[in-house]
Symmetry: C2
Amino acid sequence: MSTVRGARERARIEVTAAIKDEARRALAAEGAAKLSLRAVARELGMVSSALYRYFPSRDELLTALIIDAYDSVGAVAEAADAEALAAGAPPRARWLAVCTAIRGWALAHPHEYALIYGSPVPGYSAPLDTVGPASRAAETFIGILRAAHAGRGLALPPLPGNLRPEARRMAADFDEGLPPEVAAALVATWAQLFGLISFELFGQFERVVEERDAFFAYAADRLGREVGLPLV
Amino acid sequence: MSTVRGARERARIEVTAAIKDEARRALAAEGAAKLSLRAVARELGMVSSALYRYFPSRDELLTALIIDAYDSVGAVAEAADAEALAAGAPPRARWLAVCTAIRGWALAHPHEYALIYGSPVPGYSAPLDTVGPASRAAETFIGILRAAHAGRGLALPPLPGNLRPEARRMAADFDEGLPPEVAAALVATWAQLFGLISFELFGQFERVVEERDAFFAYAADRLGREVGLPLV
DNA sequence: TGTACATCAGTGAACGCGCGTTCACTGATGTAC
DNA sequence: TGTACATCAGTGAACGCGCGTTCACTGATGTAC
């Protein structure tokens, strides 16, 4: 009964997907601030008011796109790590593979990237539903560091005293298994990784960095060292 | 003649400044995508068409704001470094002072920050006039590194082979005086610094980092090490 | 199985809104002789 | 110094545009008896 769906239910699922696909296309063309329900409807050959059967407002559509984007980059990160792991890669190589995969996703979906990691969309405030999906990609890094820590360990210098309680809290939020130094280093490194990607994507590397791939590999490898991962 | 200006010229300068100030206020309230000439004019008690005597289009006004923002953060960085230098601070402390100053500026002017370091404004493409001011803050870091290099030197591991020509080019672009390893490390670190600031400003640290000041100090200090600056 | 009713997707018109930009104009300020 | 003319800031109306959202409606699909 719940598997064999009626025509209506199947149609609803399909149309919902079509709306999100078209919205993603519009996003890619114009950016989130200019994403308009009317344009999406027009492109789908619907009347704008019909969209309200699927999304109660423009903001809800944006939220759906945001959640999908987080899930999309998270899935890419997980797949890259799974592949590296299957190939027997050591933690540092898994780290690099995931960084590269995330950058690849960002270059392939620049506006979706901007939607989740760029400046907030004016007038829109993300609801709590986005918190879970947002951490999915980060979980991949946590897994890599946990494996490395369980193996030969991660050597990091001690934290400044005033950061120790905060770092312990972070480590606890990451489901235990990581020492506080690693947790703090991961959060910092995580932010820094997106600094590299954002600068490339948002044009700050124009006339500064030419060999983007080589430069990113160099920088991401340095980040792996920063987080305590030993060289192979 | 060029110093003693006529009433008309002085008025023009004042009104231009008032328009930019009001535009900055609107920016702070709504973000760049929603910045509207009409709203600015309304707030100034002018009619919208009057703004065209001062800026030929909305984009030109945006460009002026972008250049001012780059100059503003550049001036803040320079002032922080000058102060640290006057107090006899070693390079690593100057580095930290400038990082902290840039973050402080960003927290105080979040929408101006987003305008220059966030996702590009849809439909707007920055003209070349913005390139010069954009590098002003970075020049401060170059100065610090040059001083450190001239002093006891900067120890950095060698670059991967495929990045050496690129790094040499970067070093040349920075007016010489810095070895290629340092140039490459600075560019990476520069991007990473803005990753930290953007994540804090754009809400990615919500529910993750609580002690923002301490965390930033920790991360910025790590960046100083990354770029080869010795501890005091 | 057939029929009466409920559910729901999609329509089309309308609401009130704000936007960037153009244009002919008025009237004050500056300039040349 | 006084006058005729040029320059320029600011006005007000208008252009054409697109937006999000509401609402009463039609007609097709699903459901209960």
